[in-house]
Amino acid sequence: MRPFTYERAVDALGAVRSAAATPGARFIAGGTNLLDLMKLEIEQPQHLIDVGRLDLAGIAPMPDGGLRIGASTSNSTVAADPQVLARYPVLSQAIVAGGSPQLRNKATVGGNLLQRTRCAYFYDTTKPCNKRAPGSGCSALEGLNRNAAIFGASTACIATHTSDMAVALAALGAQVETLAASGESRTTPVIDLYRLPGDTPQIETSLAAGDLITAVVLPPPPAGGQIYRKARDRASYAGGLASVAVAGGQVALGMVALKPWRAHATEAALAAGASPTEAIARELEGASPLGRNDFKLPLVARLSAAAIQEANGRGA
């Protein structure tokens, strides 16, 4: 790990101002992903601003019937929250499908959203990776790419986003609330928080440098059943090969792109009366598998059709 200075932020505005004023600054809250990457020197911040104890925790109902979840709320707290369990069960299910209990106890909502890809070449500092070292090349194109993206990839990067929580948030149409150094607060749909790789896979989000995620805001839940399903190599504590979140007629896919993938073609087909199998087939017409990840097509088809079917059965 490279040396760094550390401060504990007193309030959110102080944190973003410090970030704007300090070169090489990064926010830290849970630290479960950032510290892992710092040990490998993939992340080399010169200054850490600890936002973990800011008054950004807590879960509160919104006047419109939605729910506001503070960014430094732990993943475990969100998953166990009675309002989440009662009205947004897909979010609780997605969270407990990710990481281990110890990680979920420490990891925060904001940090979960900003966790970085687990692509083997991003982690292997002896190999080229455009995301870690822009312009060096993508080792995964011809390498270990069994878990690569089938949607929205580019010749510069075929990695996937690995958050389970973000897939549920995408299906629920969640908004991300951010604070800029200017003091301006902004909301962005969670699916627009992430960028597809294009030629610049090192630029991962639409956030400006120093923007701090302060909350995730859920709209009232859509009518219908909710479910999260994840396929992976082990039964527990493993990154996904593919996942699906269903909330009424809203469907998002996980681990198939560098962002949670809102399945608009599937949603349109379902709304037009298509069967779940037909509806997910419409989405997969736009997929571009690479060979070693061809299996994701039937996997996503079966996982999604079954999940949509089951959610329909649960819909009141």
């Binding site: 200075t5 200054h47 110890q102 990680l103």
Partner: protein, 172 residues
């Protein structure tokens, strides 16, 4: 660069401990190298094995993936604070009774994790083993799921499950 050493005070096993450490020091290294509490083990140092599991304010976390300076004012419980050879905690006794280890390297983490896990069960924290909204029951599968963040290289898992069921008062 500014000061890369910081003073921080952490209450460890009930005793306030003043530390003056490099900011890079993980909570695990502070416990082991500075406070000489070597019960918490360093396995992978990347949050994958759970050998470093301790309780912070009663909640189990991986001490390797946290900085000591992030824990100023926190109360940390390590295996040394759980019980002593003359006064074992019931979870420690159950691990002995059921032979729930071979080499023992993962055991402090397994025991601290068990303590955190049982509290989480009481608090109704969900797991993927139990359908949303249902009250979890400490079945073998539920224990395996909730303990999946603790790896045992000797694979004493059946005995660990038996020890946990015993201490939780669940019929094996």
């Amino acid at each position: 660069m500014g000061d890369v050493r910081l003073k921080t005070t952490i209450t460890v096993n009930g005793e306030p401990c003043a530390l003056d450490v490099d900011t890079r020091t993980t909570l695990l290294d502070a416990l082991r190298e500075h406070l000489k509490l070597t019960g918490s083990k360093k396995g992978c140092d990347h949050g994958q094995c759970g050998a470093c599991t301790v309780l912070v304010n009663g909640v189990r976390i991986n001490s390797c993936l946290s900085l000591a300076v992030m824990h100023d004012g926190d109360a940390v419980t390590t295996i040394e604070g759980v019980g002593t050879p003359d006064n074992l905690h019931p979870v420690q006794k159950a691990f002995l009774t059921h032979d729930a280890y071979q080499c023992g390297y993962c055991t402090p983490g397994q025991i601290c994790s068990t303590l955190g896990m049982l509290k989480e069960m009481e608090a109704g924290v969900p797991s993927q083993e139990t359908p949303a909204g249902a009250r979890p029951v400490l079945s073998d599968d539920e224990i395996r799921e909730r303990m999946s963040g603790n790896i045992c290289r000797c694979s004493a898992y059946p005995q660990i499950v038996a020890a946990i069921k015993d201490v939780a008062g669940v019929a094996a």
